[in-house]
Amino acid sequence: MVDALHLIGGGLVVAGTLLTLLGGVGVLRFPDVYTRIHAASLTDTGGATLVLLGLALISGLTLETLKLGFVWMFVMLTTPAAANALANAAFSAGHTPRIGAFQITKGVAAGEAGPDTPRRETSDGNKSAAP
């Protein structure tokens, strides 16, 4: 029984690693920022989930599994948010998607921000690292 769990767990870890590797290939091969972000973030969360699940199966019902759960929660929170921020920044900096059936105009893509004001000038909320 324990050995079976170990085997399944090991398999999941390998699968997760392969998925992450695939993501790396995607980042290198995809044509523009957005598709690359897509490749990286999806495989990152997916790969991490698989690896953590595999490790949880290997370690069984211990304190470690609880910690792995926290790590998973953290990954699920941060990676998508980071991908979102990255895509947002790329779009604000004027990168347009290169593939897709239609060219998105800035106003539509910005969604919640309302009328199509030129994005590069709306800087009021941005007091980040810039001096």
């Binding site: 941060t78 979102n84 800087s123 909320g125 980040s128 690292a129 001096p131």
Partner: protein
């Protein structure tokens, strides 16, 4: 099974070192500063993995938070402020350094051949003082993590010096960037519009979690990898994230520059104060065995300070607790000071 486990360990060691060399060469060849900085982050993460293979869990943790974390933030802040273009290559500048580097390298290779074999448990380094720490810690200090015992107790004076180095770095950055007119450089174009709702929501969730995690790392340091330095850097990430998402002004309003600086100072004072208290109670500086005045067992209710069977370790436990707290305060506050310096060229509040 037997030999394979060791060989896997050694193979991992070699593979990771080769990766490090590859990343190092890439950094050397990279002309874009941004790329070089990000590769430095990669370098730190790979070396953190290598450190785990080398059984240096505490160091790996520190390298991950310091090397890949705070160093990258500081470097990114710096290139944002200096607006540097790609690095120019100057052929004049390749021959002489190459000769110098090869000379040093030759001397190093000569020196390395005189070292004991890698992994040799009987080498002087591993057999003498290092082994004594492993043997004596359970009785003298009584914490499971020997690295913490050595760091905080046996070589606690080094750690005090290191805390002062961090404190001095805070002073240095504040003296350089913390005063006077904001940067004379033209303002940066706004990078993002006001549509990072996702970030705001996530940050609100994350900031308390980060702080909580920092305290876990802090108080778990006796038992596993972790301690004041790692926790301090992690704790500093909470206000840094806040500043990145909600704006520096909001953060400074909540955590004024002077207050942060005072916290850094209080950390050093707490550390040195523990040392002085030990002295007042009749021991040497930082001799935690004398943290409590003699005869304290008779006064306090049994069990309050710890296991009565190991009364000689109470002082050590509390001493380590307080000095790690001092380290946490100084490191966290200094990292925030450094970030304030770079991020805002923060000015003293009136």
């Amino acid at each position: 099974m037997s030999e394979i486990a060791l060989q896997v360990n050694f193979a991992l060691n070699i593979a990771l070192l080769l990766m490090l060399i590859a990343v190092g060469v890439a950094i050397a060849r990279m002309r874009s500063l941004l790329a070089a900085i990000l590769l430095m982050g990669v370098y730190s993460l790979v070396s953190a993995v290598w450190l785990i293979v080398m059984d240096a869990a505490d160091v790996a943790f520190t390298e991950a938070v310091v090397g890949a974390g705070i160093s990258t933030i500081v470097l990114l802040g710096a290139i944002l402020l200096v607006r540097a273009g790609p690095v120019r290559h100057n052929w004049r500048m390749t021959i002489a350094p190459a000769v110098l580097v090869l000379g040093v390298g030759g001397l190093l290779v000569y020196a390395m051949t005189g070292l004991p074999e890698f992994g040799d448990p009987a080498s002087p380094a591993n057999a003498y003082v290092g082994r004594n720490y492993l043997i004596q810690t359970p009785d003298e200090i009584g914490v499971p993590n020997v690295v913490t015992a050595v760091l905080a107790s046996y070589r606690g004076f080094d750690t005090l010096g290191e805390t002062v180095v961090v404190f001095a770095a805070g002073i240095g950055v504040a003296l350089m960037l913390g005063f006077g007119p904001r940067s004379s450089l033209p303002p940066l174009p706004a990078a993002m519009g006001d549509h990072h709702v996702v970030l705001r929501v996530t940050a609100r969730l994350l900031i308390p979690l980060i702080a909580l995690f920092a305290f876990y790392v802090q108080f778990h340091g006796d038992l596993g990898a972790g301690g004041g330095f790692q926790a301090g850097v992690i704790l500093a990430v909470a206000p840094i994230l806040h500043a990145l998402v909600f704006g520096l002004h909001e953060t400074i309003a909540a955590l004024p520059v002077r207050a942060v600086r005072s916290i850094a100072t209080l950390g050093v004072l707490l550390f040195a104060g523990v040392g002085v208290i030990c002295m007042i109670n009749g021991g040497g500086f930082l001799d935690y065995d004398h943290l409590f005045p003699p005869g304290v067992e008779a006064i306090i209710p049994p069990g309050l300070l710890g296991d009565p069977d190991h009364a000689h370790q109470w002082g050590q436990h509390f001493g380590i607790f307080f000095i790690e707290l001092g380290v946490l305060l100084t490191v966290a506050a200094t990292m925030v000071t450094i970030f304030y310096g770079f991020a805002g060229r923060a000015v003293e509040e009136p």
